[in-house]
Amino acid sequence: MNKVDIVIAGVGGQGNLLASRVLAWAAANAGWEIRTSEAIGMAQREGMVSSHVRMGKNLRGAIIPDHEADIVIGLELAETVRAMPKLRPGGLVLCSTTSIVPVAVTLGETTYDTACLKSYLEQCGERVVFVDATALARQAGNERAANTVMLGALSRFEDLLPFSGSELRDALMTIIRPQFKDVNSRAFELGQQAVEN
């Protein structure tokens, strides 16, 4: 393993940035160089956001080229599909089944076909793991911890990562604010278990 490229796709407000910081911190602690590219600004208002996290040696830019991402973490169903052109053949997709339906759908300006998006992922021929992250986060005590559920799920794939699952958890606990530690600790564990089962 000499580089790992991860795309985190979602909707503004889902905690994309935190997930990206946690991954970067875990990789840096494991002695890897890191680059991340984040979506800050207008897109944070319910728009499409995607963070790129690159870990490796002699890294250059922060943007992952098309078909090069080893892992796509989707915090939202449609945004996971939108990120698929980034995935390398044989890569891993962790997809939260959460749907955030844009206001424009209610107004009849665009459509959101959950079944079609899900079946696309099921049939795309890549390794796709679905996680009901929002439900698990709610179970952990706060829906907003769905990003952490996804990190927990990711921690099960140690063979694809430059750090162990417990190192990822440690990075999360270092970065998260003290008052949210309990909820996030539970969310991380529920994410881990979701993949186990």
Binding site: R35, E38, A43, G61, P102, L107
Partner: protein
Amino acid sequence: MAKKILMGNEAIAYGAVEGGVQVVTGYPGTPSSEILGTLAKLAPQKGFYVEWSINEKVALEVGVGAALAGARTMVTMKQVGLNVAADPLMSLAYVGVKGGLVLAVADDPGPHSSQNEQDTRLFGRLAKVPVLDPATPAEAREMAREAFEISERLQLPVILRPTTRTCHACQDMEIEAITYTSRKPEGFVKGPQWVILPSLAAKKHPWLNQQQEKARRIFEESAFNRVDPVSDGTTGRRAIIAGGVSYNYVREALDLLGIDLPVLKIGTPYPLPKRLIKDFLAGVEEVLVVEEQEPVIEDQIIVMLHRYSAPVTVRGKGDGLVPREGEFNVNKVADSIARFLDVPPPAANTVSLPDLPRRGPVLCAGCPHRASFYVFKEAVQGMDAVFTGDIGCYTLGIAAPLEAVDTALCMGASIGMAAGLHQVEPGRKHVAFLGDSTFFHMGVPGLINAVYNGADITVVVLDNHTTAMTGHQPHPGTGRRATGDVAEVVNIAELARACGVKLVREVDPLVPTAAIRAAREALEYPGPAVVVMRRACVALRKNKFRYRVKAAECSECNACLLTLGCPAIEERDGKPYISDKCTGCGFCSRICPSKAIERVPS
């Protein structure tokens, strides 16, 4: 030494501290805002001065004052902010500085969060001010540190111009406990050289031109420009020159293509290190220049080679090989390089995706701007009205179902444009919408102009007590300064009255009946009128309540869904449903014709 992960903007702030910065000013603007935000956090312990200024022109002027007193000064802004600061900048180059003055101006190719894709490197050339263009956050830090030194050697301001992919990229770097040492500024020493009369400008212009050559000589030796030879050390017929972040894409694209070519990385695009480039191109027949935005490096190279009569073909934007618009990435650059070398581009395994929902950014759940737009749409019913918009979160009022923004141009333009429209079509109602920070930034002159010239317009100040879009920076209406200490509050309504506006109303947009009454009064008043819509940004509020639809009482008229466009209101089984995103503003409950929305503890 400790390893830290720094965002490019934080790295620039650290570099500035390491460079001994003493005074920092700026106005927020994506992607530049975190530079000053970081410095404001470091200022109290290190003991330097930081302020959010009301606009970029004032920020630069404050910075110039500090630099003339001998202090090392940084002024931060985004690319369009430099237009506002252009007046002081253009003459400052003639006057020169004593303490190092660094303008950190962030460009936004794409654009991701801007009105245009203007290229600050060209501005540097226009103003005759040297420009540094970092490729990575780590290099941005080094450049920030060194820029003060360069500025003092040249007695010129220096522009540090990162782009979004440096500002908002993070990189691991080693940070020592930041050493901060600053010299005691000499103080302002009176002399005729600080008064830019035409006679002085005429005298200083040859000096300024000489400084360009001096800057060029400094850059010839700079580590920010460097040659990557090919691994076997040979020189070929072809080579690449890359500027700023494009250098990263070039390196990766060459790896992707499995090709090795000599690459010259340029970190100082103006003035260009000509000798370095001439040496690099010795024996080269064709060179590809890869840079985002304008052909700044490319055009300078073409002129230079023509002057030397050097037989090198320059390829790039001029012959359509490299895009002139948009942000680059590895794939775009690989395509340009493949065409340059006449080899097939990297195989694109095309992925055909199913239909995806369009998802644009929208006003947050509970945003008071949504209520303000709703109120004015109600108030203008039966009138022919134009809503001129401005720069801020509220530009998102353009989205359906509000569709309450008919124009947007630049900071403060809503007022001037409304007045101009009024002169041509006096029969219509012209309503200007702008935020509180934007009002202070550049709205006030427009308002005075409207009063002076008797423009019958309505100005709506969307006062959410913060500069929300760029990350909630304080401003003169908030009573807080950049470093958090208490400041005098400049009251917007009083300011409007002092400007001569005779009808000024302050209302809470979340109370629709009173707000609509105030809006109608303002619209009907003959002459300029101001309505200040006062309600804090949702991001600043703690929500104690949320709202829910009482299913039994809901008539399914869907007014809440179809007129507000609040992201917390969804359609479930054909009925409106209020989700966990609700922040408890309660506006939907006040406009529900069936009174079927109730407040519950969150």
